[in-house]
Amino acid sequence: MNLFSIVLRNLRQHLLSTVITALSIALAGGLLMSIWVIKQQSQETFTRVNIGFDAVLGARGSKLQLVLNSIFHLEASPGNLNQADYDYIRHHPTVRRAIPIAVGDNLKGFRIVGTLPQLFTDIEYTPHHTFTLLEGQLFDPSKKEAVVGKFVAEQLHIKVGDTFHPFHGLAYDPRNQHPETYRVTGILDDSNTPADKVIWIPLNGLQTMGGHDPKAANDISAVLIQLRSPTSGFILDLMYNKQGNRLTFAWPIGAIVADLFSKISWFDKVLTLIAYLVALVSAAGVLVAIYNSMAARGRDIAILRALGAHRRTILGTIVLEAATIGALGMFASFFVHFAIMATVGTIIRNQTGVLLNVMSYQAVMLWAPFTMISLCALGGLVPALKAYRADIASNLAPIS
């Protein structure tokens, strides 16, 4: 019978306490890993989301607002550009492609965005992947037709051939229904980008929607831009942001999103701190659970000593027991972690259309269990030292 089988029998003997303590460690470990992975994954994923563009040109305002509005389909549009602005940028020698978008309408809260069919045919939203149709076909830019992201189609139960009336504004208000009727011609396959949460219609359709200002019929909300070379961005940045004062050139998209994360970094620091505290409390739980059972174990320890166990064997047994509780807890923590990640991943997907890789490996999955098990072993050292110093003879009573 080796040390580990003695430990397993001790754990079996105090099963309820073992299970409860291991569960608290599982929750703490799962929380710690999830916070870490969500932080890493969302930063990594969101700063990569650019649906194939390098920059966005829009009305003068915040670059972040421009990116959130035109790439992530969140936030309000900072304003409009006129046709001349669009014509100028699309013919600029540094620009490879420029796709205009117009926003301002919704269908039951899902954004309706006007654009050109080239967005779906010419643009790789991620390297080597263009948008593909799950069924149907692209809209005809001259007709009142729509292509719907798969997520929207599922949420609103939309099929190819269905018709709908757009609603004015970005927030759904049943009183603001437009008279125009659009027919769904295709459903886009999942791209795991914010594009999945959008109903796409011809640019012209949105510009000329009944109730919109006729004077702004040629205006667009933003231009999504692919540059010919990375250095082109500097030229346009200088031209629009430093020398000009009417438009904003948001470039590079990833850096702007990263800036958002750095602005809210205090928040994940708070979350991480909470996770560390939870982990510390759980490790203290191991200490308390074993320490509280020491009175009952006094006799067992004395018997082991009487049978020839060294003091250091007893010390090792208790520390190993604490570490084993930690290991059991951390094993279970992976289930907690993946459950949290699946839930959070679904929420983020529903809110933004962006799919986090919830099963991705992160270094935290290695160091968190190692740290947690070490903390538990450290917690076990306190009762272990008490056991180490315990007097055998007085615990083997009665004395004759």
Binding site: R9, L304, A306, G308, A393, S400
Partner: protein, 226 residues
Amino acid sequence: MALLTLNSLKKSFVTPTGERRMIVDIPHFSLDQGEQKALRGESGSGKTTFLHLIAGILSADAGSILIDNHDMATLAESKRDRLRAESLGYIFQTFNLLQGYTCLENVLLGMTFGAGTDKKRAIEVLERVGLGHRLHHYPRQISTGQQQRVAVARAIANRPKLILADEPTGNLDPINSHESLTLIRETCTETKAALLLVSHDPTVLSGFNQVKDFSDLNQAVKEHIK
């Protein structure tokens, strides 16, 4: 040939009032290999302390305890643990079985710190004490007499040279007491282990050819009586 020889063994404790009190003061005692000896003594006479000193559970203040040429009194604690695990078997009045372990596991545990576990041997000794059908029962699932038999099996499993028995029948009824004592003596004979038993029970002591009064042996008791 002497297996156990004690000379000038002394052990004292500090009482709650701060006074140092001599508990064991034995000028000489010996036990031959395979010999079975009983010591008669009343409760509180220091019998358990005496056995604890021999087993190395307590360290002596002075004197020597030679067991198979190893002086338990001067060995470092870890070596005393080793000697106890390898050469001694201890049968307690309260059996001291671990409640979370089955009968078989209790016996295996008794072997762990000595020569090492031998499942075949553990089953063999449990069968020898009549518990071959209770291998996987926990102590709470068997009778008091059976618990004592598990304790006997655990004590002899390692083939020790010396068995120490401290009031081994103190918690048993007369029938179980007799059976248990017979078992202890028979198994010691079979394994050629020497037996040193301490008891205050005349029935238990009557079975031994060699019975000594602990008070004759222990000068500290004489002092207290004076």
